[in-house]
């Protein structure tokens, strides 16, 4: 039924268009011929000149618009091409990619959350031991749970070295992005991150050694931290 109505509407529209054209053609047919018009209709010279000027003006305006539209298209194409080429060239460089990653990490938010996944392991399989310990430090605390192992060393100045090994499942930690300078590091072939405090606080290294997630925090230099991390058994 609806289709039928649509068809009727279309037929009516066609008829209406034809009727409007026919009506206007009949009207036009009643108009005087051009020769008669020349005798009966007067157009002043002033009006004629104004019309010619208007047509010239209109012609130049159209041309200017066309040039403007063409220029705009060209500019857009040039900008897109340049941006794409520049982007492709820049992304080909490792330094740029690393910088972009740093920038993204830095601007994303103040606190960075690092999510890691470790394999499910039996806690008894894993023993956490430091192969290198700076002078003056001794073990002050040791905690072993089903989720992690934590060891804490202290020296005479009450400066601490804390080491965490996350054994089971998923874990995450947040680090204040505005307090630390972040840089990549390599621990025995595994990539990690060094967080150097800007305010004289403790420094941190995190990495994943293929089995467990590691977290080392101490009031030591980057070099010393990496040395400790590399010698963890």
């Amino acid at each position: 039924m609806a289709k039928n109505n649509e068809s009727l509407d279309e037929i009516f529209d066609s008829m209406l268009k034809a009727a409007l054209i026919e009506r206007s053609m009949r009207r036009s047919a009643n108009y005087p011929a051009t020769e008669t018009l020349a005798k009966t209709t007067h157009m002043s010279k002033r009006c004629d000149q104004r019309a010619r000027r208007a047509m010239n003006w209109f012609y130049y305006k159209e041309k200017l618009d066309a040039v403007y539209r063409f220029g705009k298209k060209c500019a857009i194409i040039a900008i897109v091409t340049l941006s794409t080429t520049l982007g492709a060239l820049l992304l080909g460089s490792q330094e740029v990619r690393a910088s972009i990653l740093d920038v993204i990490i830095e601007i994303y938010e103040q606190f960075l959350e690092f999510r890691n996944e470790t394999r499910d392991r039996d806690l008894s399989e894993y023993k956490l031991e430091l192969g290198y310990l700076p002078d003056g430090y001794s073990l002050s605390e040791e905690v072993e749970t089903s989720l992690f192992i934590r060891k804490k060393y202290v020296n005479e100045k009450s400066e601490t070295i804390e080491i965490w090994a996350y054994l089971n499942g998923k874990y995450a930690y947040q680090i204040d992005n505005e307090v630390y300078n972040i840089s990549p590091c390599n621990i025995n072939g595994y990539s990690g991150r060094v967080f150097m405090s800007k305010k004289g606080g403790s420094n941190i290294i995190t990495w994943y050694n293929g089995d467990v997630g590691m977290y080392l925090e101490a009031y030591l230099s980057k070099k010393e931290l990496i040395k400790i991390a590399k010698k963890i058994k």
Binding site: L16, L20, N30, A51, E62
Partner: protein, 183 residues
């Protein structure tokens, strides 16, 4: 594109051709509505510019069609101009044959079989108010889209669509009434 930009002479000739060929027709149409010479000349400039804007929609190869296009557009713009100026139409178009319409009521079968439907539709168009006929003519005779009609008549696009809808509805209602003798 560059060819289009610098394709000058032929394009310019088209605009001048429009003025040289149809100036008297446009002026004659204007003088049917506006008696003041200065007003008529001002209106002529406006109408000529509008024709120039829509020059690509005109078929110059067919003189009759092009002339019809010019007359229809010009008379509608004159009516609109007068409406805007809040003046009454000073002269009645001499070709207005609305009085010929007798309003005879034929049965629906005769109405269709006697091929009167088309003629009746033309007569109903004469009876239709200018408000509706103008938008219908600009749309179907001049090929303007709704946006262009709205711009030239100084009304909103929604208004244009509403006038087209109501104009058609009025015509249908009157034709139906004519065919069946009731609403």
């Amino acid at each position: 594109m560059l060819i289009l930009i610098f394709d000058t002479e032929e394009e310019r000739n088209r605009f001048l051709y429009l003025h040289e060929t149809y100036s008297l027709t446009i002026m004659n149409t204007i003088q049917r509505f506006v008696s003041d010479t200065y007003d008529a000349e001002d209106l002529y400039q406006e109408i000529l510019i509008l024709h120039a804007k829509h020059i690509n929609e005109m078929d110059f190869s067919d003189y009759k069609r092009a002339r019809n296009y010019v007359i229809t557009l010009s008379s509608n713009l004159c009516k609109n101009y007068l409406k805007k100026q809040k003046r009454k139409i000073e002269r009645i178009e001499f070709y207005d044959d609305a009085d010929d319409y007798t309003g005879e009521e034929n049965g629906p079968l005769d109405w269709v079989l006697e091929k009167d439907a088309f003629e009746n539709l033309i007569k109903e168009l004469d009876q239709l108010g200018d408000k509706y006929r103008m938008v219908l003519e600009l749309k179907y005779v001049n090929g303007f889209d709704d946006d262009s009609i709205a711009k030239e008549l100084g009304i909103t696009k929604k208004n244009v669509q509403m006038r087209i809808y109501r104009g058609k509805a009025l015509l249908k209602e009157r034709l139906y009434k004519k065919a069946y003798g009731k609403k």
